[in-house]
Symmetry: C2
Subunit: 388 residues, 2 copies
């Protein structure tokens, strides 16, 4: 599924970074990290030396991993006593992704590679992953087409008075039939999500999820996403879903409504569209992540909506776009304090949204690729509010 | 949702264990751990001293967490500089769940609580969580009823020639409409799952998931669960799903078939039923986890099916039952080397299954509670193969 040339290019870029940083090799055990370089998401260890041949040690399933992996040197995961011989060269400093590795795992691998120093390469890993190849962009365009097809069907199954959970069930049913792999991978600690099918006041409630809209959810144990409340007329219905196809996801949001929406909501929606247009125009290599956020927040403030931008007043999320790809929370993050330049091929879900207490939530979300000519929209579908 | 008395009892049991171990307090930040004690799954820190009043510091969303949490002392997450004053007593040894805490998080909290020793309380936490109160058992019975209702509908949507993914979509659609919260929490590193709707040869393939049956999946990026292949006649169709309702899950598997099944499959199924019956009879306080596994494996061996028990020959899973509750991989684990006694109120998905290469996979799964009279079946539904 991942062509050998893709894997080679990814490994080569990583090796260059390892050498630049004086790191002797990288040890990957987090499944999606291993997948990115090998094309196989089995239970495995991937060793990528700063120079030379990677080694893919597969714990389970070896037979399946052998078929999937494009690495040349694939072996069954050896007994611990064989590790000293296997890694006997001049290896002193080993890079690991400490953003995701639990302490128990860390200690296990520290023992296995005893005497070596472990250093955090989470940022390098996330930065490399953020830039998509033409192969990856094509996969994301395919995901975009599939997701748009489901959004196009929404008017056929959205019924007045239906419960949010029924709307979610209908939407997810079609996602799944279109080949959605189901599991929206997120990297950050404690992040969980189902998508959003939320309406009116239920879209306003703040919550644990690090996003502008959270949803009331079905219980305090799962306090996000759709609830079992019925959808009313004259309120914005927010449908915000990601789709995963061959590992790659895109993310989008559209607003639907039965009846009419308050003029304040329609005005806020127009501001969201304006912010999206400005950002899309500026998704070019060299633009700074933080600056794009500041400009977006500035446009919201100019419209007098600074307290409503990206969440419930006082509990707002501090970003306007998040990288997507193999994970829903990749780099770049268009947010304060991220003083990094955009790179061509990075892919970002741009989601200017507003919460107007008492009226509901409104906004837009599309996934774009950064290009020399501004953002390429990977979720090509009309932005307008759909009145039913 | 979690009654105050439940929370008090859980905290009190933990405090006793902390005192027994000479630990001064427990620091929880993993969402499901915090939920278990507080009734709130927000982004928060929960401090439970070995004696005295717990402190619930909520990062996001404070307003929502305040409504949900049954802890007396709830505060917004303070700035780092206030931590020394907040935890100024004689606190030397702090318990944390290192099975799930990523190294970056660990280092952040080590700094916040500087000078203190962190010790691993993963096992204590898992053991306490494994014993369900009457309140929890009632929640699991409710989940069981909902899951059985969906299984009962399967004959209405199972059609010859349909794709596995279409079967999954139909099943998940009904799960969701019944109130399924969607996200099957798993604790172990790198574990991901969607449920299984797999048939024939696709149920045989080994894979990364630590279970007997994995499924071919939709791509190498998600190599588990349903594929896009059509379901044939005269092969076992395995439907294996969990449901989550108010945080609590149960897990079950049933076999369906169009046409007939090979006598070897029917015979293996009878052995699975026999193993289940023996285990159910022996789910009593005091029985050893390991011994129950050994006995089950022995029954499989007596039937000449030792190489087919719990997976593809040579890539078999080494357990026959796993705890369920707030997570799909709780204690107890009926597996070799676990020399612990069962306790009343523990809840276990018992899943004797066989893979017969060339014929498919077959078996049974039900969720039971451990009682003085043997296992109480929480997924009350006929075990038989359903021929369509």
């Amino acid at each position: 599924m991942v062509p050998k040339a893709e894997s080679d290019a990814r490994i080569s870029l990583l090796q260059q970074r390892l050498r630049d940083e004086g790191i002797d090799g990288a040890l990957f055990v987090y499944a999606v990290d291993v997948y990115y370089f090998t094309g196989s998401r089995q239970n495995a260890l991937l060793w990528i030396p700063a120079a030379g041949r990677p080694l893919h040690l597969i714990r389970r399933s070896y037979s399946r991993g052998r078929q999937e992996s494009v690495i040349d040197d694939i072996r069954p995961f050896p007994p611990s006593r064989e590790f000293p011989d296997l890694f006997s060269g001049d290896i002193r400093k080993i890079g690991v992704t400490l953003d995701v590795l639990p302490v128990q795992q860390y200690r296990f691998y520290k023992k296995l590679f005893h005497g070596r120093e472990f250093v955090d390469i989470s940022l390098i890993n996330r930065e490399l992953r953020s830039v998509k190849s033409p192969f990856e962009l094509e996969a994301m365009r395919a995901s975009g087409r599939k997701l748009c097809e489901v959004f196009a069907q929404a008017p056929s199954f959205l019924k007045p008075g239906m419960r949010e959970i029924d709307l979610a069930a209908e939407f997810e049913f079609r996602l799944r039939k279109s080949g959605h792999e189901g599991y929206l991978r997120m990297r950050a600690f404690n992040q969980e999500t189902t998508g959003l099918a939320v309406a009116g006041a239920n879209a306003e409630v703040p919550g644990c999820f690090d996003g502008p809209l959270i949803g009331k959810g079905l219980s305090a144990a799962a306090p996000f996403g759709p609830s079992s409340d019925a959808i009313k007329t004259n309120v914005p219905i927010v449908i915000d879903y990601g789709i995963v196809f061959r590992g790659y996801m895109v993310d989008m949001t559209r607003i639907f409504a039965f009846g009419r929406l308050a003029p304040e909501l329609e005005r806020a929606f127009a501001v969201a569209i304006e912010i999206q247009a400005w950002l899309a125009e500026n998704l070019r290599p060299g633009r700074t992540w933080e600056d794009l956020y500041s400009e977006a927040a500035g446009l919201a403030a100019e419209a007098g909506l600074q307290d409503n931008f990206m969440g419930y007043p006082g509990e707002q999320a501090k970003f306007v776009g998040h990288g997507v790809g193999l994970e829903l929370d990749e780099f770049p993050v268009l947010a304060p304090k991220f003083k990094y330049p955009l790179q061509g091929g990075q892919t970002i879900a741009i989601e200017p949204k507003f919460v107007l207490p008492g009226l509901g939530a409104i906004g837009i979300e599309n996934t774009y690729a950064v290009t020399e000519n501004g953002g390429e929209k990977l979720t090509e579908f009309p932005d307008e509010i759909v009145y039913l």
